[in-house]
Amino acid sequence: MNMETIISIKPLLAVLVSLLVVPILVLSGKRPNVREACTFLAAGIKFLIVLSMVPVILNGTQIVYTIAEVIPGVAIKLRVDSFGMLFALVSSSLWIVTSAYSIGYMRKLKEHSQTRYFCFFALALSATIGVAFSANLLTLYLFYEMLSFATYPLVTHHQDHEARSSGRKYLLYIVGTSIGFVLPAMLISYSLAGTLDFSSQGFLAGTGSKPLIGLLCFMFLFGFAKAAIMPFHSWLPAAMVAPTPVSALLHAVAVVKVGVFCVARVLTGVFGTDLLFSLNLNVPIIYIASFTIMAGSLIALSQDNLKRLLAFSTIAQLSYIVLGIGLLSPKGMTGGMLHIAMHAFGKITLFFCAGAIFVATGKKNISEMIGIGRRMPVTMAAFFIGSLSIIGMPPCGGFISKWYLVLGTLEAHQLPILFVLLTSSLLNAAYFMPFVYKAFFCRPEDAMFESRVQEAPAFCVVPLVITALISVILLFYPQPFLRLAKMMVQSITGV
């Protein structure tokens, strides 16, 4: 299938907007209002640029921009296709919301070094969009590493002992795997194929021996440790020491989604479905993902700290996406890609809620939150919606993606996986619903919940309401995400 391509600088602009705003943020560090206005402005512009490319993409055209030809056959090159667009749309829209939330959260808690915080946030967003728009493995790797390093100061924002050890763990896993696995795998692929440009059928097809391709496949799969596939997952719970907006955007949306996005990109664009299928590589991928789903969900059950619970939930949910891609069936892949968007809106709502609770009450553990629904009804309602979306029940967007995943398992004749999906949904319900129930219907143990309704600041509450609403809306109007995912699957499989 021949894609029409047009050359435009827009993708680069989309990446650069948040990069160029950094100096302005640094300069306006003394005046928080100006600084945050700039953040908003950049987020808005970024979103608009991304949005302006949507119609073009929906027409089946690709946008390409080459920054520099660095190595023969490999350039630092941006290309917007439907899958990248889907991801960029999610992350850029959520940046706006998160910026608003950050302002409320950071100001209320009087956090230190807010300028640094906003700067690296913007940097991380640039990297995320860059990953989304990467046209080849090198560019992907570039932005992937940039994201790793840009998020380090965010993760360790508190600069205390705990942040320090978490930061170490974060770097060890993320950078260690990317340099230890992805870099050599990328270079071996380059010497095999002579190119690194993603193509819809994969560029490794027809090169290399079977064991080598298999080895490469797993090096990539585990190398993108941001995807938190077990056993390379334990950085994610550790990274929860970060301020909640960071956890929300980066560890529920940007960083981990970049991980799975990279895995999906590599599986489809480097290996190609045919190659994976012919070498039966998809089966181990599916089983690894399934194991991660089950294990993550089970561990989440035992967590008391709300953010850690969400972290393990994320680990499980991420593997849904890997699983969807690994099924190699059109429906399954659609479901996997769609889940990036659906899970993003659901999970960010949940994180916002956790943060709002922390801002309003200072509580972190579920056991301390019994009856909190009386004090923060809006927040907890949003939490309920978010958890429905994660469990995959109507009326939330999560239902659609899970539906496609289930269809995909049937299509691929992987009935055990269907069982895994259903069980994990039950487990999801099992760790979310009791909390929601206790929050609303149990008598508060803590006297502070008896008092009248007292929500977190408006800057915190409004964003979470918005994301909760979007989660609902996505069920009824899943466009353009569904369309984008289907287009991508079509270009890969031809169906």
Partner: protein, 496 residues
């Protein structure tokens, strides 16, 4: 004037060194402007030469008007055309950045310092540009002697460390001289191109093989290639920062250049890789160099010394790359000369700034530096990224070529060593960053006047540093052009 660039390149720094020396006795304030102007001219000529080479190909400059092999000639081809601008620009930026540091450390010896500095640059530029094997030895000695002088002025341990460097450096230079003598005895010529023309029928001669090995050992001694590296860490660590940030980026890299020049021009790649059949062993030696450098760096609790071990490891990168015996490896090695010079400069200049402000470079002295010196530390971050090999900084791309070369040579040990050293670099630098990031800055006098305040080095030190940091990224982005238009032609076509 442009046809005289080759002469200007070397002669202007030499003349200015002499003028600065005289000016040092008369008016010390004249020294710095003269030195900067001279290095500016040198950098200008170097860039001009590179452009001319790109236009016209190899340039031959006959000194004294005698045509080679009677007289001495300069050959500027794609290989040294690339290295010359790097050497001159590194020297220029470092000079500007260290003005304050020099005035702080040697208030009454400014003249001699600049004289030695300029002579050293003269020597290094001459080594790169010359086409005569013996002339190279003389220039090598100039660079070495001035280097000893510059390095010995530092901490208490500096003279002893430098004396050890002097012993090793002299043996190295003498070995090189002996190798040249061996070549002379069998060919009768001293001109590199001429030797290359006369050598092929003699490749089976024991004397030629010995000449090659002796030259290589000599050059390795000078570049501190494992296991001949023992002199380097101490010599560079205890020196003053202006000297170490000139010598650490340039000397080892220029020696790598000499090695590659010997391998490619004087001898042919066929001789080096096929006739001798030692390349595999040398690559394994490079692997050990990289691993040992990384591990020894890990054991240090002192920023500057840690960086010197990284220099040792980087030498392993380049030697290994050059000896992989294929085009990609050689490209990586040549590219890494450029990149490593720049990134070593970057990190050593950072150390210079830290020493200027904090008066120390042990890990304990670094606490809270991110807040205190944000620009300096920002540059350190970029330099570290380059050493680790994170795109788009230039260090990534040379590592790319080196690894691709290792893969196509089937030398997975070398690839593993490169990856290992990247991983260790991550640990090394993030250990430093952690210290700079977390602990509050402890004031030794017990009272902290500006808690959390910024206390950056002077602008004249920070601006060159930031320029270097930007260059690191720009060079990275232009890697494609450098390889396609320059390095590709620097490697003989016979090498695949």
């Amino acid at each position: 004037m442009s046809e005289q660039y080759p002469a200007l390149l070397v002669v202007v720094p030499l003349l200015s060194a002499l003028v600065v020396s005289i000016a040092g006795w008369i008016n010390k304030r004249l020294c710095f402007p003269i030195a900067v102007a001279a290095l500016g001219v040198a950098a200008w000529s170097a860039v001009g030469l590179l452009l001319r080479v790109l236009d016209e190909g190899v340039i031959v400059y006959k000194l004294g008007g005698w045509s080679p092999p009677m007289g001495i000639a300069y050959y500027i081809d794609y290989l040294n055309g690339l290295v010359l601008p790097v050497v001159s620009i590194v020297a220029l930026l470092n000079l500007i950045a260290n003005k304050k540091g020099i005035e702080q450390q040697f208030p009454d010896k400014i003249g001699p310092f600049y004289t030695l500095y300029l002579l050293m640059v003269t020597g290094l530029l001459g080594i790169v540009v010359t086409g005569d094997a013996f002339n190279l030895y003389v220039l090598l000695e100039i660079a070495a002697l001035t280097g000893y002088g510059l390095l010995a002025m530092g901490e208490e341990r500096a003279p002893l460390a430098t004396l050890n460097y002097l012993y090793m450096g002299t043996i190295g230079a003498c070995f090189y001289l002996l190798g040249v003598g061996y070549l002379y005895i069998v060919t009768g010529s001293l001109n590199m191109v001429d030797i290359a023309r006369l050598l092929p029928p003699l490749y089976q001669s024991k004397a030629v093989m010995a000449a090659f090995i002796i030259c290589m050992v000599g050059v390795w001694l000078k570049m501190a290639f494992f296991p001949l590296h023992a002199w380097l860490p101490n010599a560079y660590t205890y020196a003053n920062s202006a000297a170490s940030s000139l010598i650490a980026p340039l000397v080892t890299k220029v020696m790598i250049y000499v090695m590659i020049r010997l391998m490619l021009t004087v001898f042919t790649p066929e001789f080096a890789f096929t006739t001798l059949a030692v390349s595999n062993a040398i690559v394994w030696l490079a692997v050990i160099a990289i691993v040992m450098g990384a591990v020894l760096a890990l054991a240090e609790r002192n920023l500057k010394k840690m960086l010197t071990y990284i220099v040792v490891a980087e030498v392993g990168y380049m030697v290994g790359g050059a000896w992989l015996g294929n085009r990609d490896g050689m490209t990586g090695a040549i590219l890494h000369i450029v990149n490593d010079a720049l990134m070593t400069l970057c990190v050593f200049m950072v150390v210079g700034n830290i020493v200027y402000k904090v008066k120390g470079y042990a890990f304990e002295d670094l606490q809270g530096l991110f807040r205190k010196m944000p620009f300096t530390m920002g540059a350190l971050v970029i330099g570290a990224m380059s050493i680790i090999g994170v795109p788009p900084t230039c260090g990534f791309f040379s590592k790319w070529y080196l690894i691709v070369g290792a893969i196509s040579a089937g030398h997975y040990g070398f690839m593993a060593a490169l990856i290992f050293s990247s991983l260790v670099s991550v640990v090394l630098f993030f250990r430093v960053f952690e210290i700079c990031f977390y602990e509050p800055f402890a004031d030794h006098h017990g009272h902290d006047n500006h808690p959390g305040g910024m206390d950056e080095a002077p602008v004249s030190m920070v601006v060159p540093l930031l320029i270097v940091a930007v260059i690191l990224i720009v060079v990275g982005l232009y890697t494609g052009d450098i390889v396609n238009h320059v390095i590709q032609f620097a490697i003989p076509e016979t090498m695949v």
